[in-house]
Amino acid sequence: MGLAKRIIPCLDVDNGRVVKGVQFVDIRDAGDPVEVARRYDEQGADEITFLDITASHEGRDTMVHTVEKMASQVFIPLTVGGGIRKLEDIRTMLNAGADKVSINTAAVFNPEFVGEAAARFGSQCIVVAIDAKKVSAEGEPNRWEIFTHGGRKPTGLDAIEWARKMVDLGAGEILLTSMDRDGTKNGFDLDVTRAISEAVHVPVIASGGVGNLQHLADGVTLGKADAVLAASIFHFGEYSIQQAKEFMAKQGIEMRMD
């Protein structure tokens, strides 16, 4: 008996619509994030993460309304990420009903922003997203670096040191994405997940590469992640959240089943 490991479906939202497709929704409008989130809540999702990939200002406003609508109908924690650059962005999302915001690029360019955000709004709502890529050669000790721009731009920052620094500044949670694995369906990079989870005292969410249910279980048992995030395996109805939870529970992982 204790704290359950969490399963977090992630939705990419552009202009108030879920993109990359969600096919399991048995309704006319599969692009409505609120409907998608409701379905995941019914299936037992422990949290929902929205990634706002909108580039325009109009799209941002739409996103705020989407968060408001969702927060009035889905009663599990909601994290919003993407384009969070100023304290005002955080305030707007929290007021709309988000429980946490995820800061990524802005933390790389201005680490103090994480400190200011935590001081103002509390660490409990500040997630720092880290995009890590392996830079060590075969045979060398493992080393991962922080990349920006979807994994294209190296920063020279060591991923483990960076995670520690973010937590020291006040991050309440780390969302760790392996840029080597993202989209591959080959499973999480368990080495970097474990290295970072053991390096920090706050929860770590593993992300990037999930292709089957064993990958989710491995993220927790071998990667020592506190939560696992996935998109496509749930969106396309390959597996339901409930199936994932039952699978993980059978391997002795504590899950919320009620």
Binding site: L3, Q73, F75, I76
Partner: protein
């Protein structure tokens, strides 16, 4: 009969949208007011006392707005639900922020989970305690109606409540150490978890609160 009203005390700390929406969701006929106004709070049928963030800021704002007396007055006469830091603020004292005197409605101390927290198997536990954990119902209470014992609720906190009078404990949690997940006395109930974020079990608890007349 006029609409039943519930006041969610707004002292400028954090997002009250979720709590208000969850209350509207479970009690469609009720009027939900998010307000710092003492008169409105005291004339409502029920009061919710939420809170997120650091305790020094929370208690500071409560005192600055004179809401400490309002909360204590509400506690005398109507169903009152404290949530998270709202619950912690009701205790005598918190260790957080170097030590903060709280409202002292319940004799007890709010303590840090610590940097060296471990589970029974010796595995290091993360702080904050974030996620879904089980709550053991220590005694029957109207707010537990239709909620199975050991149901999971959503927690996010680094400090936990202890009480002097163990008979006040209505629900117990465990995270490296046992802690008070919920407590109650007469018409007052308080929860460390977020019922508004705890899906079915949390919504049931809020529904029970909206139907509660404050008697046991």
């Amino acid at each position: 009969m006029s609409k039943s009203t519930v006041a969610v005390i707004d002292y400028g700390m954090g997002n009250l949208h979720s709590a208000a929406k969850a209350l509207e969701h479970v009690a469609p006929g009720a009027q939900v007011l998010v307000t710092p106004d003492a008169d409105k709070i005291l004339s409502a049928d029920r009061v919710v006392f939420p809170g997120v963030g650091a305790i020094r800021d929370c208690v500071g704002e409560i005192l600055r707005l004179g809401l400490d007396e309002v909360v204590k007055e509400a506690a005398k006469s109507k169903p009152l639900l404290g949530i998270c830091v709202g619950m912690q603020s009701m205790m005598t004292h918190s260790e957080e922020n170097g030590g903060v005197a709280c409202l002292d409605m319940f004799a007890g101390e709010v303590k840090f989970f610590g940097d060296d927290l471990k589970d029974a198997a010796g595995e290091k536990l993360k702080v904050p305690h974030m996620g879904w954990n089980q709550v053991k119902q220590e005694r029957p209470h109207p707010l537990w109606k239709d909620i199975p014992d050991n149901s999971r609720f959503y927690f996010v906190h680094s400090y936990y409540v202890t009480v002097e009078d163990e008979s006040l404990v209505t629900g117990r949690g465990h995270y490296g150490v046992p802690f008070v997940a919920t407590l109650g006395r007469d018409n007052v109930f308080a929860a460390q978890f977020h019922p508004e974020k705890s899906s079915r079990s949390g919504l049931q608890l809020l529904k029970n609160f909206m139907e509660w007349d404050g008697t046991l």
